[in-house]
């Protein structure tokens, strides 16, 4: 294991985060704060409780997941896309590092960054609404697993994309709708029976449901299934990356 290389990539990526602190950290926090003000404090006060939880508190896990997914994907995809775009990837390709080490470095940094943002959002939320965390260990596990698997997913997007448009199209066209329709702002039981069935094809539903369970002990779907789903997703991403490195797809000519 080339530990020095992993550390070099990780430190390099994190230093990019600190350098662009405003865009990296401030903007997602600001955006989520706005959500809390609008949906939590303003509209939430007119809404009834869901599953015995006030609306403002109910949306916290979903909002957190929303940022976590978006941040993980964009951090990781940009992190690997940019060296490809600027040509500096030559150095990583010519270094005595294995694909596993490259992935740990880049994905680790992307996941760390989105976890930092997640933590900051959680703290920010305290200023607007009340919440409790009934199962802290599970909550942290969900956070970690989500950050890592969606950073892996973002890494794949970054490898696949060969222009900036492609870099943004999947997060915009796929992830955003899936998260909004994934039960961040409502309980699935509020949907008509037909749509309750359809929505179960949305993987984000399992994430948000499981995550919300770790806060309030209530879930739309079984927590075990939620965990299993995220593991499956992670496995799929790992397989994809393994294949990319094996074939050199979009990395080497």
């Amino acid at each position: 294991m080339n530990i020095y290389a992993i550390r070099a990539i990780y430190v390099f990526e994190m230093s990019r985060t600190w350098r662009t602190l405003m865009e990296s950290i401030a903007s997602p926090i600001l955006t989520t704060s706005l959500y809390f003000i609008v949906f939590g404090a303003a509209i939430g006060s007119r809404m009834g409780d869901i599953d015995g939880i006030s609306y403002g508190s109910f949306i916290i896990p979903g909002l957190l997941m929303l940022s976590l997914l978006g941040e993980s994907i964009s951090n990781a995809s940009f992190g690997i896309y940019f060296p490809k775009f600027s040509g500096t990837i030559y150095e990583v390709l010519s270094a005595p590092v294995s694909p596993v080490e490259v992935v740990i470095g880049y994905v680790g940094a992307a996941a760390s960054k989105s976890l930092i943002i997640g933590g900051l959002i959680l703290i920010t939320a305290r200023f607007f609404v009340d919440y409790q965390i009934m199962h802290p260990v599970m909550m942290v596990s969900f956070l970690l697993l989500t950050a890592i698997s969606f950073s892996l997913f973002g890494f794949i997007i970054g490898l696949w994309a060969d222009d900036f448009q492609k870099l943004q199209i999947i997060p915009m066209m796929v992830i955003t709708p899936l998260t909004f329709l994934g039960g961040a702002f409502y309980s699935i039981s509020m949907l008509p029976p037909f749509w309750q069935k359809v929505t179960l094809f949305n993987p984000v539903v399992y994430l948000i449901s499981g995550f919300r369970w770790s806060f309030y002990g209530v879930a739309d779907v079984n927590v075990g299934i939620s965990l299993a789903m995220i593991m499956v997703f992670m496995l799929l991403c790992l397989t994809g990356i393994w294949w990319i490195f094996k074939t050199g797809y979009r990395l080497k000519n």
Partner: protein, 308 residues
């Protein structure tokens, strides 16, 4: 001569179907400066990129210090530093940060003393905290060299190191390369400047259309392929060559005042004395003569022309 890089039957076809390398066989000797000379598109960058792990090899084998570049890529790549042709460099970092990144990437613990010596050697120490975006093109290239040296490689690849830099900087670069070689680093540089190969290299390989046509010691190459010319300035201008001299490699200048005889230095019988005898036989007197040897440039041009 101990060989540090061995290339056997290496071919590469890009996904476009272009055959960029066609059955390359090459040995790089330990401690030498090897110049890979060829026109644009010859396959120089492709060859380097395969050895360094940036392009996947097609057929054939490459070993670096006996380590297969695919099976044993860690050992192979640890020995190599690469200065790419393009100025590809993360521009928002400081010089020092990017140096430390490079060293770490190649699996070496930090060594501020060594890094300082490299930066000083390349006159970059004063710029160590400067962001790369603020540096001039020549400095950026030196930063790339510094990065390539950050992990103390035994082999250094320089892909067109002096493309687009001025004469003075070029001299500086050459001196630096020689210092490196003297410190035991094997150097492979590519260039399409013949002057550069002639100035720098111990050995020269000529590559064209993905094939290596010549690999020789520079001096041997120049002797072996070098044609000499003997120019005779005539006492009385000639209108045309006498028919009896038609079989000789002779050329008469436009004004008929200079007769040029081309011969091969290699040959035991250059034919000079015979020619001179013939000339006096026909009463052609000359008042001056001088000989000249073709440069590597002429050799190169004739090689490339022969191929196509």
């Amino acid at each position: 001569m101990e060989s540090i890089i061995t290339i056997r039957n290496l071919s590469k076809t890009y996904s476009t179907g272009l055959l960029a390398l066609n059955n390359i066989n090459l040995d790089i000797h330990k401690g030498e400066i090897f110049a890979l000379l060829g026109p644009n598109g010859a396959g120089k960058t492709t060859l380097i990129s395969i050895i360094c792990g940036i392009v996947t090899p097609g057929e054939g084998d490459v070993t670096v210090d006996k380590h297969d570049i695919v099976l044993n890529f860690r050992a192979a790549r640890s020995m190599i530093g690469l200065v790419p042709q393009e100025l590809s460099i993360a521009t928002f970092e400081s010089v020092l940060t990017t140096m430390n990144f490079s060293r770490g990437l190649f699996g070496k613990p930090s060594n501020p003393v060594y890094i300082e010596s490299v930066l000083r050697d390349l006159s970059l120490w004063d710029k160590r905290d400067e962001r790369i975006v603020n540096l001039s093109g020549g400095m950026k290239r030196r930063v790339l060299i510094a990065k390539a040296l950050a992990h103390e490689p035994k082999i250094l690849f320089l892909d067109e190191p002096t493309a687009g830099i001025d004469v003075e900087q070029r001299r500086g670069m050459w001196n630096m390369v020689r210092r490196l070689r003297d410190s035991g680093v094997t150097i492979i540089l590519t260039t399409h400047y013949i002057e550069e190969a002639e100035e720098m290299a111990d050995r020269i390989g000529v590559i064209n259309d993905g094939q290596i046509s010549v690999i020789e010691e520079k001096t041997v190459l120049m002797n072996k392929l070098g044609k000499k010319q003997l120019a005779l300035t005539l006492q009385h201008p000639l209108k045309s060559l006498p028919d009896e001299l038609a079989g000789y490699p002779l050329e008469l200048s436009q004004d008929g005042e200079v007769l040029v005889f081309t011969f091969d230095v290699q040959k035991e019988h250059t034919g000079i004395s015979e020619l001179l005898r013939k000339l006096s036989q026909f009463g052609i007197d000359f008042k001056d003569l001088h000989s000249s040897q073709s440069s590597l440039e002429d050799i190169f041009v004739s090689l490339v022309r022969d191929k196509s």
